[in-house]
Every structure is written in C-alpha cells, then in structure tokens.
Symmetry: C2
Subunit: 355 residues, 2 copies
C-alpha cells in the first residue's frame, strides 16, 4: 500500500453550478459540487486518481454493484473558519476504516496517498463549495463499488473509487424520537455490521419506515439474538447518560467503530465526565427512564454530529427524556465542533489544515 502519487491530473469543469446554490438553505447531501475524484481498479491494481467534472457513471447492466451489493463508503466533512482556512477532522481514521470495510467486502485495499492526496486535491479545486455558515459544512462521500461485470456470485475484477462532495446543512430537522427495535436487526455476529458496507443501510430502510409511520425518526438497533442490548442507530453510535455518567456500548463486529464516538469518549474523559464503555441493556434504560436517573440520550456521527434524543418507544410505551438546561450533549457538541471549525485549541491533534 505504498503507492505514491506526485501530481493528480485535474480536468476542470467548463461551467459551475455554484451560483444556483443557496448556501443559507442547505439540505443534507442533495447538492453536489462541480468536481469529483475518480480512481479505477483494473488489471489488478488501482490506477492513478483524477479530478474530473462531476458527471454520470456508465456501467454494464451486469456490473456486480447492481447484483451483489459489493460496495463500501465513508462519510467525512470539511470545515472553513472565518479566515477561509479549510480543515478536515481525523481524515486518516476514515481512510483506515475504508480499508477495513473493503477487506470484509473482498474489495482491494486502496493506497493511503490515493485517498489523502486525492481528497486534498479535490477540496483545493472545489474550495468555494465549502460552506462557512454556522452548522453547515462540506459533506464528503468517498465510496468504492464493484464495476466489473458478470452474474457469477464472486468478487468483481474491477472497482471504482470515487469521492463526491455536497455542501450540507443539518441531517435531522426537529426533535429525534427513537424506537428501540424488537423485531428487526441490522447485523449478525460474524457479519458485516462493523463495515460501512452499502447493504447494511438498505436493510435498515424498511424497519425505519415502520418506525417513522409510528411517529419516530430513527430506530435504535439491538442485538439480533436477544434484542436486549442497545447497539447503535442508523448512522450514529448511541450514548446514554444515567445520573452523571455517560455510557456507550463497546464496538464489536456488529457495530461501526464511529470516529465521532471515540472522539466524544476522549473529550468527555479529558473534561472529567465519568465515561463507561460497556454493554447497555434495554431494561436498564427503561428502568432509568422510569426512576428519573436517565438524563440524556444522544446519537453521535459525522453526518448528524451530536443529535439529542427527545424520547424513545419500547414495548408500545413512550418514554420522554427530561429537557435539561445544561446537557452533556450540547457541551460535547460545542467542544467537538469548535475543534472541527478552528474556534478552539485542538489539544488532541485531530484537526488537519489544508494548504
């Protein structure tokens, strides 16, 4: 994995769509910047990445992505400070996780420089697309999929690695009420739940639709065997505050090792908040909700940042969480976004400035 690239070829778009975009009214992930990075795996190796105009992809109908879901992705953000400096947050963690995901999905691993230099070059070219408004950022979507052909159920011989970017606002709008899932599951022991594999997400859509129809925004997944342990949400890891202790489940082969999650654990510890990383049972959360010791629940992830949970449903009963003045969620959200957007010191060395 030591391929080195010096210069990445750049083919610039002749036009720009940037004037059509209202940066004060950004949704999540539905407006795309002018360029993208593309890199093909063929003849047994990753070819040189290129920055090209954002453009459609053309594939044979037998391309394996259509049939066997062989794909992985990442989610990152680029932030701009008041002086227009651009920052990434722990990008190497995303790169490493992409390769962890790829390995489990039998996708060839990507050289670090293709990812890092490719991303930096792309952001350089589309710098104007990085929002500076409070609460907005450039959502970055690196992804790899099987572009090789054939109906045999086996790994493809060709892949495409692409990075697209989308100036984005908040992932959730309004309060987030969650349903603790008792029937469906997200992942199996020994399965692909720890990977950011495409198929993990499609499998959540139907149970989530059922939850939405009942008035919830999100499903909280539990283990597939007993449904007794809280695992994670659609695209967020879950934290629970009981009295003054912050608790989150351990990662496993069923749960994504979230970068926000591990950053929050570190920040909380450094700030003197007692943190426990241990299995959380549904019954203790219900018990704590009943006796008033459940102070907060929140989700943590790159897209949703930190999303406070206003209440949860379980066994056909709804439990509301208290509306506190000073929450761990708002303190931790401010701390992490201040680091991400260069509004505070970064004692952890997480911020990466682009030059």
């Amino acid at each position: 994995m030591s391929a080195i690239i010096k210069d990445i070829e750049i083919i610039k778009s002749k036009t720009t769509k940037i004037n059509e975009v209202d940066f004060n009214d950004l949704k999540f992930g539905n407006t795309f910047s002018d360029h993208m990075l593309v890199c093909d795996f063929k003849d047994g190796k990753w070819q040189a990445p290129k920055v090209v105009p954002y453009q459609p992809i053309t594939l044979d109908p037998s391309a394996k992505i259509f049939h066997y879901g062989q794909s992985v992705f990442e989610g990152m953000k680029a932030y701009k400070d008041v002086d227009e400096n651009v920052f990434l947050f722990r990008p190497l963690e995303n790169f490493k996780r992409l390769n962890i995901s790829s390995k489990r999905l039998a996708i060839p691993e990507l050289p670090e420089s293709y990812f890092m230099e490719g991303l930096k070059t792309l952001l350089e070219v589309d710098k104007d697309w990085i929002p500076k408004n409070e609460g907005s950022s450039l959502y970055i979507r690196p992804f790899i999929f099987a572009s090789g052909n054939g109906f045999h159920a086996s790994p493809a011989d060709e892949y495409k690695f692409i990075i697209c970017t989308a100036p984005s606002g908040a992932y959730f709008s309004g309060k987030v009420k969650v349903l603790i899932e008792q029937t469906y599951s997200r992942s199996a022991n020994g399965g692909v739940g720890f990977a950011k594999a495409g198929g993990n997400y499609a499998g959540q859509f139907y149970p989530t639709q059922l939850a939405v129809a009942k008035g919830y925004q999100q499903v909280i997944w539990t283990d597939d065997n007993t449904h007794e342990y809280i695992e994670e949400a659609g695209a967020m890891n879950i934290f629970v505050r009981i009295n003054d202790t912050l608790i989150t489940g351990p990662t496993s082969d069923r749960i994504l090792d979230g970068i926000t999650r591990k950053s929050i654990i570190e920040i909380a510890k450094a700030e003197g908040i007692p943190v426990e990383v241990r299995k959380i049972t549904v019954s203790e959360v219900v018990e704590a909700a009943k006796n008033g010791s459940l102070k907060e629940m929140f989700g943590a992830g790159t897209a949703a940042v930190i999303s406070p949970i206003s209440g949860f449903g379980y066994n056909d009963t709804d439990y509301d969480l208290p509306e506190l003045e000073d929450t761990f969620a708002s303190f931790l959200k401010k701390t992490i976004t201040d680091i991400q957007t260069n509004k505070s010191e970064d004692p952890y060395g997480w911020r990466v400035k682009l030059d």
Copy 2:
C-alpha cells in the same frame, strides 16, 4: 398491483453478437444476449416496460445503489426442448419472491404483468439465445436497484427494474468440497437473509475467499449465534442424506426460500423418499460422517441445479463423502431437469410453455 399491459414496446438491436458465441463452450453468466427489458419507477409508479438493445446504464454518482446497496434480484432459467419449444420453470414463484425481497428492502413492489409479460416478450425477441445443448440454458437475471439520487440514508425515489439474460453452462466446474463456517455469518435474525438482496452476497465473498484458499469451493453457512445449525450455501439450499432419509433445514428469516429446494422436497416425497424438514446440527452431520450413515450432501439452486458435495471441512478436519453408484442427487437432478426441459411429464404443473 393490477396494472395491465397489452403491448410492450420493442426497440430492436441493429446488430447481433450471437455469432461470436460458442454455444458448446458456455461459462456461467458472462455472455449476454442482444436485448434487455427495462422498466423505471418514477413519479411514484412503475412506468411501462420496454425491450431495448442490451446497453450500458448511466447513473448519477449519488445514485443510492452505489451507497446503500438498495437492490434485489432473481435467478431463473429458460430451457429449449428438441423441437425448439421454450419453457420456464415456476416463474410466478420468482416473481412473488422478488416482491417479497423488495418489500424488505423498501423497494416498491412490481405489478405481476410487468414481470411476466416483460419476461415473455424479452424471451420471444431473444429466442435464438436460448441454448439447446444438454446442461446449458438461458440464465435469466431480473433485478431492481435504487437509481434515485442523494446521500441521505433513506429509500430512493427512483428505481430500475431490468431483466438481462445470459446463455450459460454449469455454475460449478469439478467437485464441490465445502467448509462448514464457524466464524463468519451470512445473516441475522430479523435481518434480510430471506431476501435476495444484493448485500447478502457481497458479505459472503471474503469468507468464501478464505475457504477457497484452504481448498474448498463453497462455504456452508451456520446460524450467527451458535454456528451449530446448518443453514445454506452461497446460492444453494442444502440437503443431507442420512441413511435413506433426505433432510433439509426449515426456511426462516435468515434463509432463502429456494424454488429448487421446495421442488426437490415435493419430488422426493412423491417418489417415496423419506424427507424431513427440520433443523440440522453440525454435530449430527459430523457424527453421521464418522459412523458412515452420512450418504450424501448436495446443494440445490437454480444456477447450480443439484450439486453433489464430495466432502466437507469442520474444525480443521476433512470428511469425505462416499462415492455411491445411485444417488438421490443424480435421481433428483434427472427428475427435475427432465421436467424443466420437457423430457418427461410434469405432474406438478411447474413447466410454463412460451408461445
């Protein structure tokens, strides 16, 4: 689901690739016929299907298939008898299963006539592509994928339903030695294992590569919780013969309800073979292999038909199966393929003749 179509628009290819194909040396699923059926879901409904020349598909980089694995598929075959009559095998079962898969993957259900009339029209147009050689057939691949755009992890608003066909020979070449899996899993309770969802297949590639590296052709999946029960293989359900009883596991939300499997169960019963549909433990299979009562194991599926298993690996030990003269596998394979190819009566009413 009662949409009715009278005539399906046909746009014929100006050229044919058929002369480039050696019908005496067909591989599996890597040669594609001249036409395909396409049908788009947009504006909230499935639009009229069309037969068009086999051609590339163009999608936005943000199309949800690339990111969230929202796709389902089917696998069927068309057979030609000596008089060039064309037959399908229980095609309605594939249609129904496609919609069962779609529902779990939050994909809009397809009207029956779009599938059945679409398929028949396509086969009519590409009739010359249906092989008549013994052991060959036209493999048919209906599939649906999310073509709608956006990075929000939620169901797409547009889909494509496509049917491609590929004249094909045998799925496996040579003996099939299998590894009973003890670490990885294919599906979760409450998950999508019963659906023919793309992501189920990609998740199997890496464990299968590990098994192949150890000298096996296939993994036999076990339950994700205890790895004590035999579930199914990559694209086949599994049958075990102990003494003179044929045993196969019950279907569940983790296991695909195979059409070959249920046909084999019916044929075996009608032919007086004792059949048990019940959970099979790995330990009873190992025990039976040791004491000689394990006579046969075979996989059953549309692509692989009936594939005898020559031996299995478990706990770092290899167990060979006996080489019998008259096997259930060969009897059942002959019985089912004779029905499929119009070489025998069809007392079950499974064969559908195209006119």
